[in-house]
Amino acid sequence: MGVIETAGLTKSYPRVTALDHLDVTVGDGVTGLVGANGAGKSTLIKILLGLVPATSGTASVLGYDVATEGAEIRALVGYMPEHDCLPADVSASDLVVHLGQMSGLPYAAARERASDVLRHVGLAEERYRPMGGYSTGMKQRAKLAQALVHDPRLVLLDEPTNGLDPSSRDDMLALVRRIGSEFGIAVLVTSHLLGELERMSDHVVVLDSGRLLRSSATTDFLHATGSLLVEVQGRPDADRLLGQALVDAGLVARPAEGRMIEVEVRDDATPDVVRDLTVDLGLGLVRMQERHHRIEDVFRDGGAGSVQPV
């Protein structure tokens, strides 16, 4: 049973259809939800929280129906909104304790949990200062802490890396990974940056104009394509020489980006053939690696608009 399951989920606004017959299942671990702006990511999250009713179709979160059991869902789910939501004149510590109580924790437990999660998200002494003076990175951490304070079974993170500098972004990505693996909390995280999702999620759901473009394990997106990338040097036309030699040896080879050659793997001996030919030609073998797909390829292959649910 999935953590999140939707069937034919549709949400129409007077002018746009935000979600169009969406069937998606999300399991444990970290699931990335990717799509361009307006692809329906935020709408999906609001429906899952029971805050916005769906036009048609059904959805369940942790086994509860979003249409009728919203309160039960919200007790067990943490939500980190995309937009700013922190009052300026309250400290992170006070706010997180208070919101822990709002999720049903007794005061003493809320204090202990708040202190724990603030440590996990990396807010140290600054947690006692009013949040009006926080940097974006600190605000994002405080927003994440309030989503975790009640030890939810699922957290919905809407663009957690928005506005972060590269090092804070790395911290946030690592943190999201930890929540999914070490903390044992299922995570649904949205981003429009594919590279980020590759780094933190086990599973990726791709939305396009409210429809499911693809849903599969991150490793499936990144699986080996069955070809090798080879880079050689030694002479100005080294790549052309090797390419010709490979073709002569009966392999399929073509120029790749940069000055590399892409060789299709025929059998286990293919890398040996490449190595031997390079040596025979008197060239230096700089690198030979398996070529992987990237999540971008889904968009390129599918093409925005041409929808092929997999």
Binding site: R74, P81, C85, V90, Q101, M102, L105, Q146
Partner: protein, 305 residues
């Protein structure tokens, strides 16, 4: 069986902070009532600046202090000079006190309603509440309750001080208690009316400064206009005009209700003179509070997470 300390090597460093990793929460999760109670208490504390920045505490506590000061002086005079001055009752009636200090009360409500109501809307903190189990209606009613009780404490505290002073000065206990309880009911009604109106204005105005100004204008202007009309109509021998006018300011309205219900000394020139008018006053209080609640609920129905 070895105790845990036996397994540790001798001379192991003490006082080391261990990273326990993530600890799941296995304790109780409270229901709707407990959550609403915690929300109410936090709101009440926040209204006096507690749990907020140091600066936020200044104004509410100054206002509370200034509210208590005249009562303290009155009590001092009453206790010390009762026999000399031949006093047999409070120097200022309980029911008159809130009208005398109406400026302070208005400033308190005007400054704290936006702090409590507009803040969640302006910073969009309301999203964090809506993403939790509490219902929207509960959110609205509890916020209003926090503000009402905070205002009630402000109005009621000097009355309590006067009551205690009155007892110390050996005023008749039964009569004082009756008057005091009537005044406390009045304070509660006044707090409800003021908070309802202020919360509604604050909920419609997201910008804080604007909300403060709007609430001040609504409360002060209405009181000034009503007091002026009442003064003129009383002098001109047309009290009916003043009685109707009294409906349009929370202060004169609630004072009128106190006159009608508890026969308290009137603080205005033209208190409701007939039972019918008294009932109209009472009805106006109910409508004010009910209307404010209805307006707030309608306003929050349009708030999107």
């Amino acid at each position: 069986m070895s105790s845990p300390s036996d397994s540790e090597p001798a001379g192991a460093p003490t006082g080391v902070i261990h990273d326990l990793g993530y600890r799941p929460y296995g304790g109780p999760r409270l229901g709707e009532r407990a959550v609403a109670r915690a929300f109410f208490v936090t709101g009440l504390r926040n209204t006096y600046g507690l749990g907020r920045s140091g600066r936020s505490k200044v104004l509410p506590f100054i206002l509370l202090g200034v509210m208590l000061l005249p009562a303290l002086i009155l009590v001092g005079v009453l206790v010390q000079a009762r026999n000399i001055l031949g006093l047999n009752e409070q120097i200022v009636a309980y029911s008159t006190y809130p009208l005398t200090t109406q400026l302070l009360i208005s400033v308190f409500v005007a400054s704290q309603a936006p702090a409590l109501i507009s803040r969640d809307l302006r910073f969009r903190t309301i999203t964090l509440y809506l993403a939790r189990p509490m219902r929207r209606t509960t959110y609205v009613l509890v916020r209003l309750a926090s503000l009402t009780v905070a205002t009630f404490l402000l109005i009621g505290a000097p009355l309590l001080l006067m009551y205690v002073g009155g007892l110390l000065a050996d005023l008749p206990v039964g009569r004082e208690t009756g008057r005091f309880l009537g005044a406390i009911v009045g304070a509660a009604l006044l707090a409800a009316c003021l908070s309802g109106l202020a919360a509604l204005v604050a909920a419609l105005t997201v910008r804080r400064g604007l909300a403060v100004a709007a609430v001040i204008v609504v409360l002060l202007v209405s009181y000034t206009v009503v007091a002026t009309i009442q003064g003129i109509s009383g002098d001109a021998g047309r009290p009916a005009v003043g009685e109707v006018a009294g409906l349009f300011s929370p202060y004169t309205l609630v004072n009128g209700v106190q006159v009608f219900l508890f026969d308290s000394p009137a603080a205005t020139n033209t208190p409701p003179s007939s039972d019918a008018m008294g009932l109209v006053y009472l009805l106006a209080v109910v409508l004010t509070v009910g209307g404010a609640i209805g307006g707030l609920l309608a306003r929050y129905r349009t708030v999107h997470p």
